[in-house]
């Protein structure tokens, strides 16, 4: 797991870059420029996906590119939910085709970011390919729609195993599985069973369970009680958005999607930010931190550390905040601040 693609052409990695919609393209540009500025040995293969087209050629090209490169960075692709079911979410297609079964989001309170709760440090592991996102729906009788939620033993064991291994690697002491097995006895019951089975093989890590509605209630009152949370797809959607909101919003938290063979990095809460697109006001933090996760994955820790430290210090020390954090800085103000931070402490960079 997590074997990076072999470096080609003299130690440089090729990474697929899908700008996406809304604020995606401008943020993707910032990442590219910053990587160039830092002399990061990564070449981006730009793959545009036009989400307004009903044909799936673009997304298939993207999938092929990722199969080739093994790793990708992406912005969110808009899904027009008024189109018929034949038009599938491009983001979901990527995840399922590449079997990116594990979504990881690390939500941490940052000093200098004003939030109602402090000292939050939660790692969320979300099953990323099945559950409610199986896209299996039919209208059995006019006016009656059935939507199938699929839970399998194989995928539940797999995600649980991923969680426990990740917990060990990151010094996490406790995993809480989130479910609704009191109502969905078979589906979530199976998921829980698999989690318990895997947990028994990791006696060093504590394991408990929590019903999803109680989990959200606990999160808004005492989020500090959680360490790592593990759950099926839909609850993962809810919990990760709640946690991201608690630590400061969608502009701050990066997300990683891992599969057996591929890895895909993006902003954690997967927002398009359509209303603030092209206004130079988006918060680039989440995307930049995602690019650092990418660099970690490519085993380029020095570059990852350099960019991450500069990005975080801009938020926490310099307190250069965009509108979403209550500030008045523009995206380019923030980028400039990050470049300055890198320039002053990092290795030789391109001249500003």
């Amino acid at each position: 797991r997590g074997v990076p693609p072999p470096a080609r052409y003299g130690g440089r990695h090729t990474v697929t870059l899908i700008p996406g919609d809304g604020i995606g393209p401008e943020l993707a540009n910032h990442v590219r420029e910053l990587f160039w500025f830092c002399c990061v040995p990564v070449d981006f293969e730009l793959v545009n996906v036009d989400s307004s087209l009903t044909a799936e050629d673009d997304i298939n090209n993207a999938i092929m590119s990722i199969r080739r490169n093994g790793v990708a960075l992406k912005g969110n692709l808009e899904t027009n939910h008024n189109l018929p079911p034949s038009y599938k979410s491009r983001n979901n297609l990527l995840r399922t085709s590449l079997d990116l079964y594990a979504n990881v989001m690390h939500c941490q309170s940052l000093p200098g970011v004003k939030t109602r709760h402090r000292n939050i440090d939660i790692m969320i592991i979300r099953e990323n390919t099945e559950g409610e996102y199986s896209s299996l729906e039919h209208e059995s009788v006019p006016g009656v729609v059935e939507c199938l939620k699929i839970i399998t033993r194989v995928n539940s064991l797999r995600i649980a195993d991923f969680a426990f291994q990740t917990a060990r690697q990151n010094g996490r002491r406790r995993i809480t599985a989130v479910h609704k097995a009191n109502i969905m006895k078979l589906g979530d019951g199976l998921f829980l069973e698999c989690c318990k089975e895997v947990a028994s093989g990791y006696p060093d890590i504590a394991f408990d369970t929590l019903i999803v509605d109680n989990a959200t209630m606990q999160l808004v009152s005492r989020p500090q009680q959680f360490d790592m949370m593990l759950m099926p797809n839909l609850y993962g959607n809810v919990v990760s958005n709640v946690c991201a909101g608690l630590v400061g919003g969608p502009g701050l938290v990066p997300g990683a999607n891992h599969g057996e063979h591929y890895a895909l990095f993006e902003a954690g809460t997967r927002n398009t930010g359509r209303s603030i697109a092209n206004r130079n006001s988006a918060n680039p933090t989440a995307m930049l931190l995602a690019s650092c996760l990418l660099l970690d994955h490519l085993k380029l820790p020095a570059y990852a550390h350099m960019i991450r430290r500069a990005t975080l210090s801009t938020v926490t020390e310099t307190r250069m905040h965009t509108a979403d954090l209550g500030g008045q800085a523009s995206t380019s103000d923030v980028i400039k601040s990050i470049r300055n931070a890198i320039q002053s402490t990092g290795p030789l960079t391109q001249s500003i």
């Binding site: 939910h81 059935e146 969905m184 019951g189 959200t216």
Partner: protein, 347 residues
């Protein structure tokens, strides 16, 4: 009931009271004491709803309970024990099916005096309560593969949407937001959305918006003041209504109402039976009391509702006789007596 306002207000209304289990009886009696002090025109008919096996072998609620509810149309219910015995259905589920309680309504308003990190919360979650992900239809397809079916129908979606807009109108709320995940669940949530949009057309005075479930969650924990009335299918409603309850202080202070077909409405506290403190005069009756206030408003008895609610909030704000869960050291009876005193003083 087509009765002139004054006549309606001076009539004595019968309400079916279901005390429930655990702390149920003591918080119910607290509510009844407060209503008496407020001289509310309510006559309580106590009933037990523990399931019994009917003639056909089917589980049902006792006939006298059903009769009382069918007559009075209004119920107030304390927490019910979850039965462990196999075959015995969930009591809440049985009530829901018996009276076709299709809408679960939870107004979430920040309680001044009970501090949480969130102030100024003032929203209402309206949850479709009969279908969706809770249809209970699950199959093992092959060993290790389970399928749970989420059912969305045109009729149930239309009905809940209509209720939501009607509620908004009757309670002077300005907007209704449909919460969905139609980007992923295109057909099911898409159908739900379409029905909401159709109903919105006939309520032009109410603003209608749509928002993804994840966006609602993300925004709710950052700024809950942007939300007004939220309408959604069963599972999202379950999660969001509890999330919102968490914002204002938890299930111990959150009211809830269930609206059924044929004019039936059952208001309830949604916390547990708290067996560890049952009978010790330690329980907090706020949730049941606020549900009873919701009930009074539903019945058009707004002045009594306002009076009792104000007394309750004043007692909490005063902080002198709070129960343990609210951070105090007082007994349930002392808390209740304080509210009664305030209610009497208001007259």
């Amino acid at each position: 009931v087509a009765m002139a306002g004054n006549a309606w207000r001076s009539m004595i209304h019968t309400v079916t009271m279901i005390p429930g289990d655990g702390i149920g009886p003591e918080i119910s009696s607290a509510v009844m004491k407060i209503f008496e002090a407020a001289k509310a025109p309510i006559q309580w008919e106590e009933r037990n709803v523990t399931a019994i096996k009917g003639p056909g072998g089917k589980w049902m609620i006792p006939p006298d309970a059903k009769e009382s509810m069918d007559q009075s149309k209004i119920g107030l219910k304390g927490p019910l024990k979850t039965p462990i015995a196999a075959g015995h259905p969930s009591m809440n589920l049985l009530l829901r099916k018996t009276f076709d309680l299709y809408a679960n309504v939870r107004p979430c308003v920040s309680i001044e005096g009970y501090k949480t990190p969130y102030t100024d919360v003032n929203l209402v979650t309206i949850r479709e309560n009969t279908e969706g992900e809770y249809s209970g239809i699950e199959h093992v397809i092959v060993d290790g593969v389970v399928q749970s079916i989420k059912l969305i129908t045109e009729d149930a979606s239309r009905r809940i949407a209509e209720y939501a807009f009607e509620y908004a109108r009757n309670n002077q709320r300005s907007s209704v937001t449909a919460v969905h995940k139609a980007n992923i669940m295109r057909m099911s949530d898409g159908l739900f959305l379409r029905k909401c949009r159709e109903v919105a057309e006939t309520y032009k005075d109410i603003k209608f918006t749509e928002m993804y479930l994840d966006t609602v969650c993300l925004n709710m924990v950052q700024d809950p003041t942007q939300f007004d009335v939220l309408v959604m299918p069963n599972l999202y409603g379950d999660i969001l209504s509890d999330l919102c309850a968490g914002l204002i202080g938890g299930l111990g202070v959150t009211p809830s109402g269930n609206i059924g077909a044929n004019g039936v409405a059952i208001f309830e506290s949604v916390h547990g039976t708290a067996p560890d403190i049952a009978g010790l005069d330690m329980a907090n009756p706020t949730a049941l009391l606020l549900s009873a206030v919701m009930m009074l408003r539903h019945m058009g008895l707004h002045e009594y509702g306002k009076k009792i609610e104000t007394a309750c909030f004043d007692t909490i704000r005063d902080k002198k006789v709070l129960t343990k869960d609210l951070g105090g050291n007082s007994k349930c009876s002392e808390f209740t007596a304080d509210i009664c005193r305030r209610v009497v003083d208001m007259d």
